[in-house]
Symmetry: C2
């Protein structure tokens, strides 16, 4: 042991061992223990410091220490074990006595206080334990069903959890704390305070800084941050967005756009929520089109500062999270003007209010008031009236003003600089769809569990039918279930690519992020809606969660980039990548390249113009991937030709793109369908366990064929599939829906959503 | 004049003339006037009665009386007009003096009180006047745009308003009253009281009883009731649903299922909201499957009463509007058991609580708590524990118990009796989609108006583009705009068929109502969602209305019959009608009948297997209708054959229908598409004004071709359209979207939604 084990400290070991036994010290436990300890006058300051350290959720005891504690406890427990279960305090006192004198401090009052502490911890644990117990009972009932099935639930769960299974469990364990009990708070002020408190508890666990460098309390692990974000999405989406604003956007701006000096001064306080802040980019007049935002930051050489100013009502920063109530500082995006020259959009740190929530002079803030959802987030509008901040406050990674008032940037082109700066912020686009997916999975879990107990109508003189057994109900839910798996794998792939990124990769990662953000958030909206309807009137009750899922996630299709705008970026990205593939002979050779490439496909894979409706053929990854890739390639060629044609006729590029807008959107959709399928198939192929592989393959087939089916109009129009083939696909999708339905309880179980997070009365198997 | 005109009464004439000058006495005016009058000690009771009558919104002064008043006012105004505008009170006093003595009552206090009354009415009027003024200004600004257009706004509006233009104006005028100002009340108790108060004000105008017979304060006009329902849908959907529960469902149950004795005792009080009540049909365990509900009503011959009882927790009546707070009585649907025999579901009147809201013994009520939306409606759950009610309380139109305790019914078959009883309640299915359509139209109006002022991105060095000019934005909104018109006409057709119904018609009216209810409410959900997204972050602010539209209308797809369940009824109805068309030789001849019928279509209308992609051909009603009808006919034949095939193989009908469930749903969709198009084309053809006809035709083409386009997969699969043709349709839809966009301000204007109802800050043209 590296610390001085006083008898007083020894008393606490059994208590701490139990509190830490599940590797998490939950917020309630931290508060309980620390409050008591502070009051104990019989402890020295050193001992108190040590106990504070032992109760810091950021510094869990090492495995070695836990083992040491266990051994010691075991010895003393044996010594004094007599009549049944022994109190932790008694074991502790036994340990204290063997390490020194207890005479001077062990009074009756001390003993009483220790027993109270044990009881309090015990109560908290008991509440959790009770929840675990009832879950266990439920689990046991279900096990009969689940174990008979041929589905490898743990295997599927491990795949969905990817590298962060333990971290997710830790987050779930924290969310199980009574302090996180879901409440339907209607009043926004109360709700905001609740969410701020939750956010603080999450920060106290160190979850907010995971993507920060080690020196600032982090682990430099964007994947871990995204996993926490996703897991919080099973709880309350206002908390998720508050978490995202504080640590992802505000923290991300300082981290990615600032330099060492900013990191040193701010990152630690951002990660601990000591410094709540805002990401002030969007303006009332400019949402999607950030580059034309109006706020200015003008360098004043006389007192070496920047003057931040909103020139008009519409140039106010709008919809800014943390602005209406809690934010103390903001990263403000503004046109940077130095010596009369505009260097484009840069981010500048501007203090908003002091610790007592007094707004600083020159800053005007307005509350966005009630929104459709996310009313636990304090969105606001901010205007600046000639606000002066030191030159230091320019986040200067991509554009600096030196002490002589000279502007310089490592990136010469203003356009390239702008897109590079925005590119570093792509993290948000990684996280939002993950939280959306959590809400969609929760909805599916609730709707499926309800459909497995709700009966309605049926043959005469028989028990009514489970609604899960209606083919229309299967059509409503099973393809979405499969797609939830598909998107999960695709988002994990995206996160890994982002974590391993090189600069050369960035463009294609941005395309991928934009595509998956759009696809997954639209999927979220559609799925929650379908699940609400699938639960009928029960789904309309607030207690059954769809109300909040729907309302809170609705804006996901808009923020972090409007989906329709993003999908146009995707199309442009795809066309640009595609351009690189072909030789410099231009479009003509591209067309022949595509034709030749697909000539192979036609001959070898026998899919185009084919009537082959054999189940084996339709379920082959070759066919599924070729059909999906063909749509992508063909649309790339056709829209590329159209654009070239327009431009050749002298139409300006903006107009040409406008004319092809819907065509481009179709291309972007084809791209994302292809990427998602490619990753799903890869996941299936890489699976080494044959049972698990079969489980995945069914879902993958359903996802692939349902996607192809929903574009059958296109395939038929292109005459690359016959009607008999598309009909066969429809029948096969029906069949796969039924097949997945048979194991649906297991497929849902593998999502791994604990009961305390699902929290919908209709979703209990009772 | 039929009353004694005392000098006191004469004093009030100018005030009443002005108050009634727009043919409506709004709720605020009624309260103001009546409160003051009650306090006037200088009025005789007879005079007070007369003034109460003059201020009764149900008894507007006749045109003759108004003219008489005007003449009298003119005479006295001339006499005393001297320095500019004259006070109404002074004119009134002049009139009083010429009709008798004023000495004994005209004190200074009286004069002061009269002037206060004038001022108060003036203030109310002024507030309205101010709103009208700013609307006028806005209108004038828009007129420049609108008048240049070739759209006959008033003509379109008249078609949408059908027979009830004046009534709708009256409702809008009432909703303009300050008392109806929209508030975002978060707390359900407060919101429920607000909605109850609104509902009372609406009842005070006589709107709740329009479908009742004259003797009970009504006009026997279901169309008028539906028009009010639809118009209230522009205001607040909680009010709409409360209105529907009280007057449509509760009133409808007494009206349609009760007999004269019930009408006499209850209808007047229901229409005036003196007796708030519930329609207690749905049970927790039985939502869609009403026929198997568990509540019993057992006849007890010893004291000639019915014992209403809920045998289990799940047999509680669930989701019952008016139950949690305001309902005093309920029409309870229960299995009627007489002398030990179950005669199936009947409705029985059961008192719930007294006027002081004390719940009666034996009745247990639970609040449904917060819902996704409609939190202004007090939904609750009700259980009955052996509650005794007199035999009188059986709503006995379709099943009676006589004084000897004998059950009898005019309809022998229990099944037929059940469906006949439910059929009379089809009124709800007429009304719900209309209110949904109002919400969808409001959403479209808001999204379009925003898109006509919001600019984002554009060519370099140019003003940013209006988002309405993006083809993707047009694709999002224009087809829905066209479909809103299409559904409006179809719903009017349905209402007329219901109003003119004969018993023989009922089955097909029920099919039509089920189809249109489903189609229109799904359309509502989809459209509001698309409009919210089209307004980006602005659409997410509560003040811009989508939040409430979405949340409140979401349940429309579920209540008054779950859409998916209804669509199966539709398919069965269509198949049964179709069966009647064919000869008794059975399916074989049906197939040949269809073939021969469509052989004509193929030859004459040149649409099947055709490559004809000529715009003139595609825009012909013949092609559009034939293509839509073909889908309906073909699906009828194919699903009919499948069913016959299964049944021939000995599969029981329930299983056979189950196997064809998705096929049946496709058939139901084809049916509703056909009916809606048929009505739209009829509307175009019947139009006598050529400009108006052209305006309609564009919308009709867009609706028809967009519908065909969305089923192109099916047409191509059937090989009855070529790829070149479906591509031509896609291009034409794009073109029509652009065409409608050019006149979109006018098409939206023709919806006739007043600014005070639209009430979204982003929807003002400022």
């Amino acid at each position: 042991m590296t610390f001085q084990l006083t008898p007083q400290l020894a008393t606490f070991i059994p208590l701490f061992y139990v509190a830490w036994s599940d590797a998490v010290l939950s917020p309630s436990e931290v508060v309980l223990i620390q409050d008591k300890i502070k009051q104990f006058k019989w402890l020295s300051e050193d001992d108190k410091d040590q106990l504070m350290q032992w109760s810091d959720p950021l510094q869990p005891p090492s495995d070695a220490l836990m083992l040491e504690w266990l051994t010691a406890i075991g010895q003393h427990a044996q010594k004094s074990a007599s009549n049944g279960r022994q109190k932790l305090v008694d074991i502790g006192l036994s340990m204290a006595k063997s390490s020194g004198s207890t005479a001077e401090w062990l009074t009756d009052d001390t003993l009483k206080a220790l027993r109270q502490l044990e009881k309090a911890i015990g109560l908290t644990s008991l509440e959790m334990h009770a929840q675990l117990l009832s879950q266990d009972q439920i689990k046991q009932e279900r096990l009969a069903v689940l174990e008979q099935s041929s589905i490898d639930i743990q295997g599927l769960k491990a795949l969905l959890d990817d590298d962060y299974q333990a971290l997710r469990q830790k987050v779930f364990r924290v969310l199980q704390d009574p302090m996180f009990k879901l409440q339907h708070i209607r009043n926004k002020e109360e709700y905001r305070e609740q969410v701020l408190q939750w956010c603080q508890l999450i920060a106290d666990q160190g979850f907010g800084a995971l993507h920060f460098p080690d020196v600032y309390g982090g682990k430099n692990d964007m994947g871990a941050f995204a996993a926490v974000f996703e897991t919080l999405g099973y709880h309350d989406l206002s908390l998720v967005v508050k978490f995202g604003v504080q640590f992802g956007l505000w923290g991300g701006a300082v981290l990615w756009l600032g330099t060492e000096k900013h990191h040193q001064r701010y990152l630690k306080d951002i990660g601990s929520l000591a410094l709540p802040g805002c990401f002030a980019m969007t303006e009332t007049g400019h949402g999607s089109n950030v580059r034309d935002c109006e706020t200015t930051a003008t360098y004043d050489p006389y007192d070496d500062c920047l003057i931040v100013h909103s020139p008009s009502q519409d140039s106010g920063k709008d919809y800014i999270g943390n602005a209406a109530a809690h934010g103390q500082m903001a990263a403000v995006f503004a046109q940077l003007i130095v010596q009369g020259e505009n260097h484009g959009v840069h981010a500048i740190l501007v203090p908003l209010r002091d610790k007592n929530a007094n707004v600083h002079p020159g800053v005007r803030i307005e509350d966005c008031a009630y929104k459709l959802g996310l009313n636990g987030v304090d969105n606001g509008r901010i205007w600046f009236n000639q606000v002066r901040v030191p030159r230091f406050n320019l986040l200067n990674k991509f554009g600096n003003i030196d002490e002589h008032g000279q502007y310089s940037s490592p990136i010469k082109s203003e356009a390239k600089r702008f897109f590079t700066m925005l590119g570093t912020l792509v993290g948000g686009r990684l996280c939002v769809p993950r939280a959306g997916l959590s809400a969609a999975k929760s909805s599916l879990a609730i709707a499926v569990k309800y459909a497995l107990k709700r009966r309605q109508f049926g043959a005469e003189h028989q028990q009514e039918m489970l609604i899960m057994d209606y083919p229309s109900h299967q059509r409503r839910l099973m393809p979405s279930l499969a797609k939830a798996y598909a998107l999960d794998f695709a988002l994990t792939y995206l996160t890994k690519r982002f974590s391993d990124r090189t600069e050369a990769d960035m463009r294609s990662i941005e395309t991928l992020a934009a595509a998956l953000k759009s696809e997954a958030t639209w999927f979220t909206s559609d799925t929650i809606q379908a699940c609400r309807e699938a639960c009928g009137g029960k789904g309309y009750l607030a207690e059954n969660r769809f109300a909040d899922f729907k309302a809170d996630s609705d804006i996901f299709t808009t923020f972090e980039g409007d989906n329709t705008v993003l999908m146009q970026l995707v199309a442009k990205g795809v066309l640009s990548d595609f351009n690189k593939e072909i030789t410099e002979d231009g479009w003509k050779s591209m067309v022949s390249f595509v034709s030749s490439r697909f000539a192979d496909t036609i001959r070898e894979k026998n899919f185009i113009n084919s009537h082959n409706s054999d189940e084996c053929h339709l379920c082959s990854a070759d066919f599924q991937l070729a059909a999906t890739e063909y749509r992508l390639r063909d649309l790339s060629v056709s829209v590329g030709q159209r654009l070239r044609h327009y431009i050749a006729r002298g139409i300006d590029p903006h107009q040409a793109f406008l004319k092809c807008q819907n065509h481009l959107l179709a291309l972007a959709k084809a791209y994302v369908d292809f990427v998602v399928l490619e990753q799903f198939i890869k996941q299936v192929n890489e699976c080494t366990d044959s049972k698990l592989q079969q489980n995945l393959k069914v879902l993958c087939d359903l996802y692939a064929l349902h996607t192809i089916e929903s574009h059958k109009g296109w395939y038929l129009e292109q005459a690359c599939m016959s009607g008999s083939k598309t009909r066969a696909i429809r029948r096969l999708v029906d069949k796969l829906c039924k097949k997945v339905r048979n194991d649906v309880a297991c497929y849902i179980e593998a999502f791994g959503i604990p009961e305390h997070c699902l929290a919908a009365p209709i979703a209990t198997y009772s």
